[in-house]
């Protein structure tokens, strides 16, 4: 009977990570401010980490590469958030808004 529990099913974790990816894409396309887009990027990174850990736990039990790669993803996410917040604060100081659609100076 053990092993039939719902949390021992790989597909549920994969569906949750796919859902997080799609929610992140929806947020990036739909949010107006740069801060909301950054939060959506965090959702995508978390979905990727969950995917790695689930595949490591169910398909490759003897190595820890998925877990370690998720730790690397966390480190890269921390660095990315620091840089992105610096850029967003710079944009806010110069233009007095952080809306993604109105930033057109660097497009031309």
């Amino acid at each position: 009977m053990t092993g039939q529990f719902l949390y021992n099913n790989l597909y549920i974790y994969l569906f949750i990570s796919v859902f997080l990816l799609c929610a992140g894409i929806l947020g990036i396309a739909f949010r107006k401010t740069l801060m909301g887009m950054l939060i959506s990027v965090e959702l995508i990174l978390n979905g990727a980490g969950l995917n790695f850990v689930a595949l490591n736990r169910f398909l490759d039990r003897d190595n820890a590469y998925g877990v370690i790669f998720t730790l690397f993803i966390m480190g890269i996410a921390a660095a990315e958030v620091a840089i992105a917040l610096g850029v967003i604060l710079l944009i806010f100081r110069r233009y007095r808004h952080i809306e993604g659609e109105k930033l057109k100076d660097m497009k031309e």
Partner: protein
């Protein structure tokens, strides 16, 4: 007599619930993650979106515990909830009260386009997942502990580990330089 019958009834009910309790907890964690993600994406206020992100982080930490990786769950809570979310909250406060005017949404046409752009990968990946062979190779215990993570990290993956630390140092210096540059330019 009736008391003993009541006791036996309560015992049978508790064992029946106990058989379903892990599933119930797992479903609660899953629902928490999904509702938090929806709240993050479609809430009007950016502060509520941030709160939804915190809910998602806690839900994913619970999923890591369900995946027998408590170290990773601890790191998730420490790094994401403790550091990144606080950092984003500080940046929201520094960038002014943007949450006063509720202009976070972009209109129904953009919402329809974004929904299509988000649902298409979901359908595609669903098809891919359903067409794969059964990935389930039996469920044994997951033997990776913190000791093995540390051993692999300092044994085989030393170079990526050091490169991550270098990347974080470069990112911190870059962020400080951006802040200083903007202050001097103003």
């Amino acid at each position: 007599m009736s008391l003993s019958e009541l006791m036996s009834l309560a015992a049978s009910i508790s064992t029946r619930i106990g058989a379903y309790l892990p599933d119930l907890i797992f479903l609660a964690i899953t629902a928490m993650t999904i509702i938090g993600a929806l709240m993050t994406v479609i809430s009007r206020s950016i502060i509520y979106a941030l709160m939804g992100l915190v809910v998602v982080m806690f839900g994913i930490a619970g999923l890591y515990i369900c995946l027998n990786s408590p170290f990773l769950a601890m790191m998730q809570i420490l790094i994401y909830v403790g550091a990144i979310t606080i950092l984003i909250a500080f940046a929201i406060m520094l960038a002014g009260p943007m949450y006063k005017h509720p202009g976070e949404w972009r209109g129904p046409i953009r919402f329809a386009g974004a929904l299509v752009a988000a649902v298409l990968p979901f359908v595609f990946l669903y098809k891919v997942l359903m067409r794969t062979d059964r990935l389930q190779a039996g469920v044994d215990e997951f033997g990776i502990t913190t000791k093995e993570i540390g051993r692999a990290l300092f044994d085989k993956l030393t170079l990526p580990f050091e490169l991550i630390s270098l990347l974080i140092v470069v990112a911190i210096i870059g962020a400080i330089m951006l802040a200083l540059l903007s202050k001097g330019e103003k």
